[in-house]
């Protein structure tokens, strides 16, 4: 896709606005709080710093199958998202992601039913 200068400028603006709004709309920062200069496993810190989140994740299938933090949250760089974008679920759950377009799913996200990190199946 080729962009002229005006188009590119518009996109920058949209990006900045969208990011700003995302930050404003969230209680927590959208950026990862710490610079990860050292190449560690996320778990090395999060097991201690966010023990509840770690335990919920570890106990569920995602934890057992090693579907680790980066899959849903992105890297610790500028694509880090505190609240996962559901397109990230597509790799393994393509049909379910597609079903979010259905009228019955209006106003819902994956996490409306599947509690974050524990991601328990329906009815549990």
């Amino acid at each position: 896709m080729k962009l002229n200068r005006l188009g590119f400028g518009m996109l920058l603006l949209v990006a900045a606005l969208a990011l700003g709004t995302a930050l404003a709309g969230s209680q927590e920062p959208a950026k990862h709080r710490f610079k990860m200069g050292k190449k560690k496993d996320c778990i090395a810190c999060h097991e201690k710093r966010t023990p509840k989140v770690f335990k919920e994740w570890f106990a569920c299938d995602h934890g057992l199958f090693n579907v680790k933090c980066a899959v849903c949250h992105g890297s610790v760089g500028d694509d880090f998202t505190l609240e996962p974008v559901i397109a990230r679920c597509t790799g393994c759950h393509a049909d379910q992601v597609a079903s979010m377009e259905l009228p019955t799913m209006k106003g819902k996200t994956c996490f409306t039913c599947h509690a974050a990190h524990a991601l328990s199946p329906h009815g549990m």
Binding site: V14, A18, A30, T90, G91
Partner: protein
């Protein structure tokens, strides 16, 4: 944490906007989700599980990968698979050929200059020093057609058997095990066996990290049936151990005794299948099949659990329990193993001993009962093992050292009788030793990174770097090997070319091209073809595309135990892979080999339930293999065991995974796993530098203080290009398979 609709939308919008700026990653997925994406079937680039994928392209770019729900992986991918698109788009991609100039610097060149130089060097070397002064070192990541072409170019063109591949470093002992026990290479079962097994014996395999989707399938089987038991046999506690009902932790290298002891218990407790033994088995020792059931039983007398417990440091009761679980009557047992058994100076023996457990219990050839070796690379099985890309092989089970086998290939390739070379080629380690010692002058390295992945790598890096050798490397990114090369060729990557991959379960599947390669990068098939033509071998290489070569490849496998004549190109385009044997077009493929009524190569009137047709009498062999220590064990000077392995976020030498944003910072540094007792003795705290030294080399790694290994054993992963475990590992190899012992050596540790 609840996510409101509003926040969700905002996050999405921000991500989309960033994607449009060409920023990152998750947003490629985001782009794909917007619709208008074209989806094309393919195969994951990474491990030998061979998960089916769909590749999503938009505007000429690969934007997303999702699991193929019609393939064996049922739509699931592990975290590496999902992030695949990023491996194509790092700015460090090689896009122009490079030639090292007189000052020793790589500089851009034209394809014509690079190819001219390669052909003149290789032809010149053949003329001056003989055909065996040149060599090809390929990969279990190359497509079958690429390995086929390199095989033909070097064996029939340059006329040398110096055609080798990196599966020597990972699978050669599994090949040796299958061939010696059953007569032919490759597992006989398939992934579906997982859904039928009641007992899993996971030996020397960190399945959870190295083959995540298979681990998931095992876990699902266990979740669905609480009677399913998992035995893990590994000196180290890994994420795989989470699933273990029983974890046998033993002293590195003593598992030969452990398997013999399990056999001892099986026999003592009557957990054997006497009818199967009588009808289907022979017994052998060293290289001769001259033993009996009685001599086998007598041999095992030395391996009582009590005695073996002392050798292995593994409690006798655990050995007994493992044998009882494995041998329980009426239950199906599946063993799976990987580098822990293969990367050993007695790797073939370790494989044989695992096969023995299945053979004496008759737990083989029925759903859920199978000895199943796991493969590390996507096409080590299909391309290199089956296709004959190791120095001692010819395509589809033939041996380069056997005149009648060469005669068959000469006929199929339309060559004069006696054209193919009879002198044996060099295995991987000897090939790079040859480079170091001067017997090999020119080497072509394709799709692999020996400058990082060979054991005791400094020695071999020196050989590659030497002014007296001419090293060509074709790859997609700069690596620890391209930095040593005289010529670097920019190769097209996965998805920028097409070809066939064959995974651990004998499933052949087509990986389709979906995007163009960047700059001047070319597919390996095209590069080899061009070299062949310029070297004067054009007449024997009458192809334009990989698809053109496929029928010839099918023909090479025809009337062999690998038969896959039925797997046509059309079928590969349509199907989600086919498992061979598949001898006729229209044949559905074979889930279990050697089984009457299932495998088309077993005659309908065969009197027994299985025919191991790789052996003339159709019988498998139980080998009497004694306990043998690793090539190097700790002593006063080097008092620790070093073992090596993998983490889920990275793959092999990290050249692709470390191009993914998410994986660059995730477990990307190789750290030394050090037991708290050892850390205390060395006065080392987490994060401190520790110098790890062996008789071969030394390097400082930061410490990760953890009790995953028992005290006295430390662990490094193999992935980090900046912190290479292979500066320290040993290059001793198995005398049969010639596979090096990456898994065990002796080191000393000092606080740095």
């Amino acid at each position: 944490m609840s996510v409101s609709r509003r926040n969700f939308l905002f996050t999405t919008a921000a991500a989309s906007a960033l994607a449009a700026l060409g920023k990152p990653t998750l947003t490629l997925a985001e782009e794909a989700a917007k619709g208008g994406t074209k989806w094309t079937k393919g195969v994951c680039r990474y491990c030998g599980t061979g998960c089916g994928v769909y590749k999503g392209t938009r505007d000429g770019k690969l934007v997303m990968v999702k699991g193929d729900k019609h393939n064996h992986n049922a739509g699931f991918l592990c975290l590496k698979g999902f992030l695949l698109p990023q491996i194509l788009y790092d700015e460090s991609r090689l896009t122009k050929p490079q030639i090292r100039n007189k000052k020793g610097v790589l500089e851009d060149a034209s394809w014509d200059e690079a190819l001219k130089l390669i052909v003149s060097k290789f032809k010149g070397s053949v003329k001056e020093h003989g055909a065996d002064s040149v060599a090809f070192y390929g990969s279990g990541q190359a497509y079958t057609e690429e390995t086929f072409l390199s095989n033909k170019l070097f064996r029939a063109g340059f006329r040398t058997n110096n055609v080798e591949g990196n599966p020597r470093l990972c699978m050669a002992s599994a090949v040796g095990g299958y061939v010696t026990s059953f007569g032919k290479d490759e597992p006989m079962g398939n992934y579906e066996d997982i859904d039928h097994a009641d007992v899993f014996l996971l030996a020397g395999s960190n399945t959870a990290e190295a083959h995540p989707i298979l681990f998931q399938r095992i876990a699902r089987r266990k979740q669905a049936n609480d009677k399913v038991k998992v035995i893990v046999v590994d000196p180290r506690r890994t994420p795989t151990s989470r699933l273990a009902d029983l974890h046998l932790q033993f002293k590195p290298g003593t598992d030969l005794a452990l398997f013999n002891s399990m056999a001892h218990v099986l026999i003592k407790e009557g957990l054997i299948d006497t009818k199967f033994i009588k009808e289907n088995l022979n017994f052998g020792k060293v290289k001769k099949v001259d033993q009996t059931w009685e001599s086998y039983v007598a041999f095992l007398e030395d391996y009582s659990p009590e005695k073996v417990s002392k050798i292995t440091d593994c409690p006798a009761e655990q050995i007994v329990e493992a044998a009882r679980l494995f041998g329980a009557k009426g239950r199906a047992s599946m063993s799976m193993w990987c580098m822990g058994l293969n990367q050993r100076s007695r790797g073939v023996w370790a494989n044989n001993l695992c096969h023995n457990l299945h053979l004496i219990t008759g737990k083989i050839g029925t759903p859920g009962n199978t000895p199943f070796s796991l493969t590390g690379q996507p096409n080590a099985c299909g391309g290199v093992r089956d296709g004959g890309g190791l120095s001692h092989l010819l395509p589809y089970g033939r041996l380069a050292g056997k005149a009648p086998h060469r005669a068959i290939i000469e006929k199929l390739w339309d060559l004069e009788p006696g054209h193919l070379p009879s002198a044996p080629g060099k295995n991987a380690i000897d090939m790079f030793r040859g480079l170091d010692e001067g017997s090999i002058k020119c080497i072509y390295i394709m799709c692999t990174n020996p400058g990082q992945s060979l054991p005791n790598v400094t020695r071999y890096r020196n050989g590659m770097k030497s002014k007296d050798t001419f090293v060509v490397v074709a790859d997609i990114y700069p690596t620890r090997t391209t930095e040593l090369a005289d010529v670097v060729l920019p190769a097209a990557a996965w998805s920028e070319k097409e070809g066939v991959f064959g995974c651990s379960e004998r499933r052949y599947q087509l990986d389709e091209k979906v995007v163009e390669a960047p700059g001047e990068a070319r597919a390996d098939f095209q590069i080899l073809l061009e070299i062949g033509k310029r070297a004067g071998f054009g007449a024997m290489l009458p192809y334009k595309t990989p698809a053109d070569a496929w029928d010839e490849i099918r023909k090479l496998g025809k009337d062999t135990p690998y038969a896959f004549w039925g797997i046509t190109r059309e079928r590969l385009h349509k199907d989600h892979g086919v498992i061979w044997p598949c001898p006729e077009e229209g044949h559905p493929g074979t889930p279990r080999r050697y089984v009457k009524g299932v495998d088309p190569l077993v005659p309908a009137d065969w009197p027994r339930r299985m025919k191991f047709y790789g052996r003339s009498d159709g019988k498998a062999i139980v080998w009497l293999r004694p306990m043998a220590p690793p090539a190097e064990v700790p002593d006063k000077e080097y008092p620790y065991y070093l073992t090596t392995g993998r983490v889920i976020e990275q793959w092999h030498t990290g050249t692709m995974t470390q191009k993914c944003k998410e994986l660059k910072t995730a477990n990307a540094e190789t750290m030394l796993e050090l037991h708290p007792d050892d850390a205390a003795a060395l006065q080392v705290k987490a994060g401190n530098g520790v110098r790890v030294s062996s008789r071969r080399g030394s390097f400082v790694f930061r410490a990760n203080v953890t009790d995953t290994c028992p005290a006295g054993t430390v662990f490094l992963n193999m992935h980090d290009p900046e912190r290479m475990c292979n500066l320290v590992t040993i290059d001793a190899y198995d005398p049969g398979s010639k596979q090096p012992e990456f898994k065990i050596c002796a080191v000393k540790l000092e606080k740095a």
